[in-house]
């Protein structure tokens, strides 16, 4: 990840943006978990409606 930053943005190395990739990953994972949980909930609801009818 940090290698990618270094190759795409060489000046960033010197000015030194704080290394916040931990928060970035956390953000993507949390968002992914919330959406995945909702999709799972919908799949379960649909399965239960199908089973009943």
């Amino acid at each position: 990840m940090s290698m990618q930053d270094a190759t795409t943005q060489p000046p960033a190395e010197r000015t030194g943006p704080p290394d916040t990739s931990y928060y970035m990953k956390l953000g993507y994972i949390v968002a992914g978990v919330i959406f995945a949980a909702y999709i799972l909930l919908m799949l379960r609801r649909i399965a239960s409606v199908r089973r009943g009818s």
Binding site: Y23, F35, I39, M42, R45
Partner: protein, 238 residues
């Protein structure tokens, strides 16, 4: 017997739930591709670092959860009070629930962003505060629906709440702006001040498109489920 067959014909005219929702699959793939592009192929912000890439989730979710979902909920609620069509009520219900999920993502990513960039997970910042109050409004809308047994009463009362909620949004914005904010101003919607580099802009527009697709795919799925659920309830009551 006649009433049962009438109900059955109604439930079959409502399209049966498909085995695989291709729109949802497409939307999930698009969001996944957006995440790959954002993380691997889009430069990080020079001042904020990698965490800036959270905005590709945060901002589109905020637009869809706050504005699109609430507008659909209120518009269909208002139309329901006029036309008394069950389908409008189901769209309202679906928009509120999907909007609630998107706003949850907005609050979660906003807190992570705040922890990284401002040092605190929750700074009573105007836009985040409006999102929080709107989250509460949607939650109370869903709880209200849950607390009413009768279907017609439920549709009527929640439609009233939905319409009033849309009127509330501008007031919450005005109120929270009485406080000063630390939220970065929207960069994209300022014509003449192109602050965002083109690579970031393309990723950002891609993100908006992908999340819009996810929103409408979930909305459609939720609506279809509500139709199937109501049809089944009618069948059980008949």
């Amino acid at each position: 017997m006649t009433s049962v067959s009438a109900v059955e014909s109604r439930s079959t005219t409502a399209r049966p739930l498909p085995a695989v929702d291709w729109l949802l699959v497409l939307a999930v793939l698009a969001v996944g591709a957006m995440a790959v592009r954002a993380i691997l192929y889009t430069p990080a912000d020079a001042a904020l670092g990698a965490v800036q890439r959270i905005l590709y989730i945060h901002v589109p979710s905020a637009i869809l959860g706050m504005y699109v979902a609430c507008t659909i909920m209120a518009a269909c609620g208002g139309l329901f009070l006029w036309l008394k069509d069950d389908r409008l009520d189901r769209i309202s219900e679906s928009a509120a629930e999907v909007g609630f999920v998107f706003l949850t993502v907005v609050l979660a990513t906003g807190a992570i962003w705040g922890k990284s960039s401002w040092g605190t997970a929750w700074a009573w910042e105007p836009r985040l505060t409006s999102a929080l109050f709107l989250w509460f409004v949607l939650l109370s809308y869903l709880v209200l629906r849950d607390a009413i047994e009768n279907r017609d009463t439920r549709a009527r009362l929640s439609a009233v709440l939905g319409v009033l909620a849309l009127l509330l949004v501008p007031f919450i914005h005005m109120t929270v702006y009485l406080f000063r904010g630390l939220h970065p101003d929207p960069v994209v919607l300022q014509p003449g001040k192109p602050k965002m580099p083109p690579e970031m802009l393309i990723t950002w527009l891609f993100a908006v498109g992908a999340f819009a697709l996810l929103f409408f795919a979930l909305l459609r799925l939720r609506y279809r489920w509500a139709t199937a659920r109501d049809a089944r309830l009618m069948l059980e009551q008949a």
